[in-house]
């Protein structure tokens, strides 16, 4: 590769460490890695390596450190914020050959897995023992645990069970210097700073996870999935509030509006209630008697709030059909629109009616259609902004509406991302949510882990921090005694 001596050196080192098929330099093959799930960002990496174990991976990262070459980790490439977007002069480190489930330890309620292991495979391995892995992103059939850890991924069931960060207890981790370190472990509360807590959700900017120790959760005795039809999202939202106010924490409460339902019907024929302005998918799980009692209450609360149809899934096939409509919703809008943006924002749940109304107004004035799918229980919105690339100005208009939705989230005290991450896509929005000091402080962590800024550079933060610099020193003494803030004793 002319003009990239660092990459050449890393390539050479990689060839010494990794079998030939795991070192890719051929441009045509490099191109297959040019994007993740957010496919309008594309960059062809200078080199792709597919290590088979942590030692090979650490060796490559060590060579990157030595030669100052940036590297980007990639799991399954399903990320929706451009987190795994390659660096043109860097190495893409792909974990797809690190797919061993190292241990399933039901007695300890833990599993130890390599980063390339597919999310659903952890549950498959644990189920025979009566356990499962709780975080369940809709992409769980293809996304990797390493990607989940990096994004702190959520799923429909995180309302009750929490996110990836609540389920990862330990990790083996390759620092941007190429050192293999242990963070956390199989037992809780490892002494020292909770570095693992910082690494989870850091989107590959602090190093690469080469093994994760995850919590396994006991399968519930009973699961009830209910599909509820309402005339409007307002009614559905009111039902959600009533359920939460009654002290019930369902495993999941998902909402879809009319346009999202239309798309799902077209794609997977999930047979949702006719003419519904909104549906809720509510799942209750736990001990059988408790679930039965909660079900009665949920049914009543939905009726009180105007539900016109309620369907209880009684067998796994029915339950799967209900979930199919919801889980396929992103892809389904492809049926009703040639192009779409999947937005991911969060609002306090109680702001739902107000924000939905504002989104409808945005859509009305701009003429851009928005289908709403969301994790209603925790206020995580996934507006799907529809457009047709081939029509002049539509992409820009959609982009504008999508950005305005994020502003709505921030205005209402929410977040610019609930689970898809900041990545490349939303780095520029970070200053709308955090001030300079906040971002500067977060980047102290970056400087501790990766002072040279070679681990997934350009993601998460709009402007990198120079790690040598000492920030905002306060000079001159404050007359604290006079102000009555300090006393000498």
């Amino acid at each position: 590769m002319p003009g990239m001596p660092g990459v050449d050196a890393v390539t050479q080192r990689a060839r010494e460490l990794i079998p030939p098929e795991g070192v890719i330099t051929d441009v045509a093959r490099l191109r297959t890695y040019e994007c993740d799930g957010l496919s309008h960002y594309r960059v062809v990496p200078a080199l792709v390596v597919i290590p088979e174990d942590a030692a090979q991976l650490a060796g490559v990262v060590g060579a990157c450190a030595e030669h100052g070459v940036p590297f980007v980790a990639r799991g399954s490439g399903t990320g929706l914020s451009g987190g795994a977007l390659p660096h043109a002069e860097g190495v893409l480190v792909v974990t797809s050959k690190m797919r061993t489930i190292t241990a399933v330890r039901p007695d300890d309620q833990r599993a130890v897995v390599e980063p390339g292991v597919i999310n659903l495979d952890v549950t498959r391995a644990a189920t025979p023992h009566g356990y499962y892995y709780a975080p369940d992103p809709s992409s769980q059939q293809i996304c990797s645990i390493g990607g989940n850890v990096a994004e702190n991924s959520g799923g429909a069931h995180c309302l009750k069970y929490g996110f990836t960060t609540n389920h990862v207890l330990g990790a083996e981790f390759v620092s941007p210097q190429g050192d293999v370190v242990q963070l956390g472990g199989i037992a809780p509360d490892t002494p020292g700073y909770d570095l693992l807590g910082a690494v989870v959700g850091s989107e590959g900017t602090l190093g690469i996870v080469t093994s994760a120790t995850v919590r396994l959760v006991r399968l519930p005795e009973e699961v009830r999935t209910i599909l509820v039809g309402f005339a409007s999202t307002d009614q559905a939202g009111a039902a959600v509030s009533a359920i939460i106010a009654a002290g019930i924490v369902p495993a999941a409460i998902e909402m879809m509006d009319a346009l999202a339902i239309e798309a799902a019907e077209a794609a997977v024929h999930c047979n949702y209630p006719d003419g519904a302005g909104a549906v809720l998918v509510i799942e209750l799980d736990g001990a059988a008697v408790e679930v039965a009692a909660e079900y009665d209450e949920v049914e009543r609360l939905c009726n009180d709030n105007g539900a016109f149809e309620q369907r209880l899934a009684t067998d796994p096939a029915d339950r799967a059909l209900i979930w199919k409509g919801r889980k396929s919703a992103f892809a389904a809008v492809g049926r009703i629109s040639p192009d779409y943006i999947v937005q991911d924002g969060v609002i306090p749940r109680t702001a739902l009616p107000e924000v939905l109304k504002a989104i409808a107004e945005l859509s009305g004035t701009s003429g851009v259609r928005v289908a709403n799918v969301f994790h209603a229980g925790d206020g995580n919105l996934h507006p799907l902004v529809l457009f047709d690339e081939s029509k002049d100005g539509e992409a820009e208009a959609a982009e504008e509406v999508s950005g305005a939705i994020l502003d709505l989230c921030i205005e209402h005290g929410g977040s610019i991302t609930g689970e898809h991450g900041v990545g490349m896509d939303k780095a520029r929005y970070m200053p709308r949510m955090y001030d300079e000091a906040d971002l500067d402080t977060m980047q102290l962590v970056r400087c501790a882990f990766d002072p040279d800024g070679i681990s997934n550079p350009g993601k998460v933060f709009p402007t990198p921090r120079l790690c040598g610099e000492v920030p905002g020193r306060h000079k001159g003494a404050h007359p604290l005694q006079e102000a009555g803030l300090a006393e000498v004793f």
Binding site: D107, D189, L196, V200, V249, V422, Y434, T441, A483, E487
Partner: protein, 369 residues
Amino acid sequence: MEEAHPTSTAEVAEVLGDATSRGLTVVARGRGTKQGWGMPPTSADLVVDLSGLARVLDHQAGDLIVDTQAGALLSDVQDVVGTERQRLVLEETVPGTTVGGALATNTSGPQRMFFGTARDLLIGVTVVRADGVVAKAGGRVVKNVAGYDLGKLVIGSYGTLAVITEAVFRLHPLPDVERWVVTPVDGPGRAHELAQAVVHSQAVPWAVEVDLPASGPGTLGVLLGGKAEGVADRAETVRRLLGDAAEVTDTTPPGWAAYPAGPVLLKLTFALSGLRDVLTAAREAGVHVRGSAGAGVVHAAADDAGALDALRAVCARHGGSVVVVDAPDDVKQAVDVWGPVPALDLMRRVKDQFDPEHRLAPGRFVGGI
């Protein structure tokens, strides 16, 4: 030693800015209930007393969140959110604890088994850095992956990274009823078997606690909470698992959520399957053990630190550790309070970034941080 009594984040920032320009070492204090924990700081020119930041700022019942100043008593937070039948599931293991103190020392109680610990409940945090800069991370919504999770870093950092001034937590509904199922156990073997039986049941236990004195019989207690019908049924399931001697009660068992008492307090962690070995080692060492059999975290009370090495060996075998939480200074000086700490080098680098002059509680934390 000086003391400062700020009443707001801005005032804490002013105090720390001033301490920076004067080069003072700083120790933060809530109500001082755990001030002796960790190693004694090697220097403390200024104590920043946070008891003036005692306000619970905002409770949004519909969103199940509370925003509070760090000097507020945990019990005050519970009183505020309790009016809407909600609670913060951060149990008070040391009476009089403040929010900031609980976070800085990462204390946890029995219900951590089901609800997790501070790291699972804290959704937003405001801190003041050693140099007086105010920074926030997280926010006021439960689900949020924007930026690094600084809250996790300051939890359990013993005031060595920054001073926590404000915290936002997710809340849970207060259960309609709570029931304990308690049975006597004659020793480690029985305690282990019963704990495993309950942990792996589908009765959704909220806590599985063991209390085993240095000698003689102990108890195993299981907490269940929720709606009345459900709890009654789950309690019955657990009672059957625990055997004939088990009793269902609606009163809190003695010693529940309290650390065992003794001059030396140890925190032992281990993978769940190690419970029998850990309890056996504790028995052999003659220490009283109490804690979360269902989470792999127990505390031991001892007269001295004589058992430390033996306990460390057995906990390490089960993937865990032993920390000397509290002890007379002479004991602390004589032993390795924190034990082996993996990734210490990275931790030092984090400390160096946040507090380059090592002025925040110097020496209190792992590896002399």
